[in-house]
């Protein structure tokens, strides 16, 4: 597979390490009332989408960026690649 890195251009997916669903960015509040349930779902329950899925890839043999790649799990077609840091900020993560 080829991942079109937003900063570096197309690179072989073999340079990357895969983590999984980009929902892992949405780490729950540890002090919330329902933290135990929220962390269970965060840690263990997956949509496991058959179709376009946002997922986390790490460019370990490259610039060390974490990326959010939108890839169809049925066809492997990639339609978007973003820096995970930008996505995380857009989803409200900060310090």
């Amino acid at each position: 597979m080829i991942i079109d890195h937003p900063l570096l251009g197309p690179r072989d997916a073999a340079e990357f390490i895969y983590l999984g669903d980009a929902c892992l960015i949405d780490r729950p509040d540890w002090q919330a009332e329902d933290a135990a349930d929220a962390y269970h779902d965060y840690g263990y329950i997956r949509d496991n989408i058959a179709g376009p899925m946002q997922e986390l890839w790490y460019h370990e043999q490259g610039d060390r960026s974490w990326l959010v790649v939108t890839r169809d799990t049925l066809t492997h077609e990639i339609t978007a690649v973003e820096l995970a840091r930008d996505v995380a900020r857009a989803r409200g993560r900060s310090k």
């Binding site: 597979m1 080829i2 197309p10 072989d12 390490i17 983590l19 892992l24 960015i25 780490r27 729950p28 540890w30 002090q31 933290a35 135990a36 962390y39 269970h40 965060y42 840690g43 986390l56 790490y58 370990e60 060390r64 960026s65 974490w66 066809t75 492997h76 077609e77 990639i78 820096l83 995970a84 840091r85 995380a88 900020r89 993560r93 900060s94 310090k95």
Partner: protein
């Protein structure tokens, strides 16, 4: 044997004779021959035996689809089983032997299976060999295995080397036949970067095998001219002997280039190179494969594909027979008759299954309309054929044309499904092609020359135009569109005679019918039950006929019955080539510690630790076994001082205004308040609350930390910290960079460690007194007269200990300096084994304890996990079953009988209980012989271990058929109060 079947003409070089042997017989061929053409030239019709019935077999095709002519090529370690004679370029000194027979090729004892064939129908083995149960492995299976299989591995290490590589192009053209050449020319003339690959050694495809003309010249000449033009362009890479075997995601193709297979030896160069081709676009111009027709005894040597017969005559100047008949269901078969007749080969008859007038005149040939062949005769070679009406014709070669299948393989590699084309009676590429691929020419169902040339050019032009190139205006090559018409005929009813569908796996029409009768009607069931298409040719000649016969049985159309798709590789690829250089000690790179050379020169035995090589122990004097060395190193260190290269521990440089807060997130225990100049031990949890790494982190400055990780987890910790930094807390100002290799780091441990280091550390750079540099202090110092260094007062051994780091280039020299400085104290180097013994004596957890299932609670560090801050893993670490009172806890163990040696991996069973899983109390993780205590010591996890001190349990190891009584003790065997390390 002389070349009895060699006729004039062809593309072979008659000035270069090549000697070779087949089954020990000396033969001669010419440069430009394949082994198959040379065998035919020498009159060798019988070349192998079939898989199941050991039927005599001859050459069927002239390409990579060959199911029969598989030989053992070369000899000794270089022996290569199952090699297609049709794809083997002849070289001087080639040796080949036939395979899969007991006794000689001519008198194969295993041919008795053919007589038993009524009892060996498809799937017979599922219905028998079940009694008695124990006989399967001992009796039936060995017999089956010995008779199955085809060729034989040499059982010696592959003597050749392989390489790999990466290529990039705008346009990849697969196949250098007419459409491929037209495509490559169009692409190249536009300036695009083009790769043209073909599995043959001579580009040109069918142009080399036909008598058709292009641009007014012989097809082969036009191909040579096109190749010359391409070869002269520096934006073109022309790759012959290269099979593009797989289409992978996003335009990546796998290709195998056979670099030295056509030579007597590899001359020290890689035999083959496995290329990964990154293409923006691709044109698949793989041509088409002719398919056989099933009829009674259609597998005899001498029965060949009509197009292959043409190839042997036109390209190789070899007549596969003296008196030839043609069986065809289409116009193309007539061309074989025409071409052969033109070369003076006698054509006995043209049997057209269609009831229609002659397609053309063929001198002296009888035209039999609307008929077929129902039987053949000749034990080891074809002698006679019997037609539908019973008449018999004596021939030594029967050329069969059942129409053409576009070579759609690569279009299916991403599970694209070909679609049925009624006009061609064949599957053609569907719409769901791999990204960036278009198909042209015969592969796309355009079976005529002019159409192929035209489509190749147009396909390439469309592709490169899309990429922004300006299309060349040069006109398309001109050729006649020869007639092509056919009517499907899959098999000719032949009474009780067996009619082969899959030649290699011996699947007949009857087997397909039986499969239907027993309910295996889905095309996948058919393949699996009968083994059709599972042979080394992957069903290139058999899949469609089998499917068609199943369709007849079910009364459905072929597309209703099913579609078979193809998986990579297109043709089989040696495992050696797929592995490339990665074998033996080159399997993975070695990482060497900075003091590696010193260690090598001082008696070190090395051990693989991940990719690192570390000194395991150092043999001194007359030490006989490793225990002698390790015991000495431990005692020497505990009594005086020892030195160990610990560079392999991961080191991560962490800087930023938020670095301290960041560490608070990634460590379970607090780091924000760590003072500058101090070190702290920390444990890291995964988000699921399990401990996965531990180490120390030193605060070098307000915004600057240096973290150490375990050797094994260095990369993983870095990756996870980058995740936390970029994905969870993207607004923290924190920056990570690995410095593992940058610093050579040495542990200096033992009561004399300070005295030793006082000689190394420049006095003006650091006060080395216990007060000036206490336990868990760190600092930037200089050593040996000004070399910058880092000093940490940390201890893994439990002794007064330091770790000192210098830039790695000084590592080897630093080891020498430390040893020299330690001479007066009797300092010794120690290896990983002594390191392990000392950490077990001290009760420190390491890899064996942190196996990815361990909680801080189990380690007795539950209270270190701070509940006052948000750290990775806190919430999930609090789940009820992870906090159980009776969880397995890390404790120490010693044998009740002190002379006994503990066994790591033993399980604990309470006294009096049976050794069952239900009674399992825990397990021993690490053991060592403690030279300090003179008995074996162990660490392990046992239920509620922290409350069971002094209890005696059994440590059982049924793998060793042994058990012993052990006492539960504190894990801290040495200096439990930690006085030594603070001294």
């Amino acid at each position: 044997m002389s070349q009895v079947n060699r006729i004039k003409g062809g593309l072979v070089d008659r000035s270069k004779s090549l000697d070779f042997t087949f089954n020990g017989k000396s033969m001669t061929g010419y440069a430009g021959d394949t082994l198959a053409s040379a065998l035919l030239a020498n009159g060798q019709v019988l070349v192998g035996r079939s898989f199941k019935y050991h039927r005599p077999r001859g050459i069927l095709t002239a390409g990579s689809e060959e199911p029969n002519a598989l030989v053992q090529l070369r000899s000794g370690a270089a022996q290569e089983p199952n090699t297609r004679a049709t794809m083997t370029e002849l070289f001087d000194g080639l040796t080949a032997t036939s395979q899969n027979h007991r006794g000689s090729l001519e008198f194969d004892l295993m041919a008795v299976t053919d007589l038993a064939s009524p009892f060996l129908a498809a799937g017979f083995y599922y219905k028998t060999f079940m009694w008695p149960a124990a006989f399967w492995e001992k009796v039936y299976e060995p017999i089956i295995r010995a008779s199955a299989g085809l060729g034989r591995l040499s059982m010696q290490d592959d003597p050749d080397t392989y390489d790999k590589g990466f290529l990039h192009c705008d346009l990849l053209v697969i196949g250098a036949g007419p459409s491929g050449l037209a495509a490559a020319l169009a692409g190249a003339r536009s300036g695009a970067r083009v790769i043209l690959a073909d599995e043959d050694f001579a580009p040109g495809g069918r142009l080399n095998s036909e008598t058709l003309e292009v641009d007014g010249m012989a097809g082969a000449d036009w191909a040579a001219q096109a190749v010359a033009e391409l070869a002269a362009m520096d934006n073109v890479r022309l790759m012959t002997r290269t099979s593009v075997y797989g289409a992978y995601d996003h335009g990546v193709y796998g290709a195998l280039e056979r670099c030295t297979d056509h030579l007597p030896g590899s001359g020290g160069k890689p035999r083959q190179v496995l290329w990964r081709i990154y293409s923006k676009r691709a044109v698949l111009a793989a041509g088409a494969t002719e398919r056989p027709i099933a009829f009674g005894n259609n597998d005899r040597p001498g029965i060949m594909m009509a197009s292959a017969v043409r190839t042997y005559v036109n390209r190789f100047g070899v007549a596969p027979g003296k008196r030839v008949a043609v069986l065809t269901n289409n116009d193309d078969g007539w061309r074989t008759a025409q071409d052969l007749a033109a070369k003076g080969v006698e054509i006995a008859a043209i049997i057209d299954t269609r009831d229609r007038p002659a397609v053309c005149d063929v001198k002296g040939a009888r035209h039999v309309r609307g008929a077929g062949v129902v039987d053949t005769a000749g034990r080891l070679a074809l002698k006679r054929i019997t037609l539908t009406d019973g008449q018999m014709i004596d021939v030594d070669c029967l050329a069969v044309s059942g129409g053409w299948n576009p070579t759609v393989h690569l279009t299916c590699h991403q599970r694209g499904r070909p679609v049925w084309n009624e006009d061609l009676s064949a599957f053609v590429p569907g719409k769901d092609l791999p990204q960036g691929m278009v198909v042209a020419g015969a592969a796309n169902g355009n079976l005529t020359l002019a159409a192929a040339l035209d489509e190749g050019r147009k396909a390439a032009n469309a592709q490169i135009k899309d990429l922004g190139f300006t299309v060349s205006r040069k006109a398309a090559p001109k050729a006649e569109d020869e007639a092509y018409e056919g009517a499907p005929k899959w098999h000719i009813p032949s009474g009780k005679k067996r009619a082969w569908v899959d030649f290699q796996n011996d699947v007949t029409v009857k087997d397909v019918k039986l499969s239907h009768q027993e309910g295996f009607r889905s095309v996948e069931h058919l393949k699996r039950y009968t083994t059709t298409g599972m042979a080394t040719d992957q069903g290139k000649t058999s899949n469609i006929p089998a499917l068609a016969i199943m369709a007849e049985c079910t009364g459905k159309t072929i597309p209703e019955t099913g579609t078979t798709i193809f998986r990579p590789p297109y043709t089989p690829i040696p495992i050696g080539a797929l592995a490339g250089r990665a074998r033996g000690t080159d399997f993975r790179p070695y990482r060497l510690t900075p003091s590696h050379e010193w260690a090598k020169a001082h008696g070190a035995t090395f051990v693989e630790v991940g990719n690192w090589l570390r000194a395991q122990w150092f043999v001194k004097g007359n030490e006989k076994g490793w225990r002698d060395s390790v015991d000495r190193e431990v005692l020497n260190t505990r009594q005086s001082v020892g030195i160990c290269d610990v560079t392999t521990l991961g080191k991560i440089d962490i800087q930023g205004k938020d670095a301290a807060e960041f560490l608070n997130k990634v460590y379970a225990n607090g780091f924000a308040k760590l003072a500058v100049g101090r070190v702290r031990y920390g444990i890291m949890l995964r988000e699921d609350g399990i401990c996965y790494d531990d180490g120390t982190t030193a605060r070098m400055g307000e915004n600057h930390f240096v973290m150490t990780t375990t050797t094994a987890n260095a990369v993983l910790v870095f990756r996870r910290m980058e995740f936390v930094r970029q994905c969870l807390f993207p607004d923290m100002d924190v920056h990570l960079i690995s410095t593992t290799d940058a610093w050579a780091q040495f542990a200096v441990a033992g009561p004399n460690a300070r005295k030793l280091l006082e000689k190394i550390v420049d006095a003006d750079s650091q006060d080395m007194s216990n007060e000036g540099f206490p336990f868990m202090a760190c600092g930037e110092v200089t050593v040996c007269g000004g070399t910058p260094a880092r000093l940490f007062r940390i201890s893994f051994s439990g002794e007064l200990a330091y770790e000192v780091a210098v830039p790695a280039r000084y590592g080897n020299s630093m080891m020498e300096a430390l040893m020299k400085a330690g001479e007066e104290f009797g300092a010794c180097p120690y290896g990983t084994e002594a390191l392990g013994v000392m950490r077990i004596e001290k009760g420190h957890a390491a890899g064996n304890e942190l196996d990815g299932r361990t909680t801080a609670h189990m380690l007795g560090m539950g209270r270190m996990v701070s509940s006052k801050k948000d750290c990775i893993g806190w919430t999930l670490s609090q789940r009820p079953e992870m906090m159980r009172e009776d969880a397995e806890k890390l404790v120490g163990f010693r044998p009740v009988d002190r002379s006994q040696k503990l066994i790591a991996g033993s399980h604990f069973i309470n006294k009096g209980d049976e050794a069952t899983m239900a009674n399992d109390q825990g397990w021993m993780t690490s053991v060592a012989w403690s030279p300090s205590l003179d008995h074996s010591v162990g660490l392990g996890f046992i239920k509620s271990g922290d409350t069971r001190m002094g209890e005696i349990v059994r440590a059982v190891s049924p793998v060793h058929d042994t058990e012993m009584e052990v006492e539960i003790v504190s894990a801290h065997f040495i200096d439990p109060e930690g006085e030594r390390l603070r001294a």
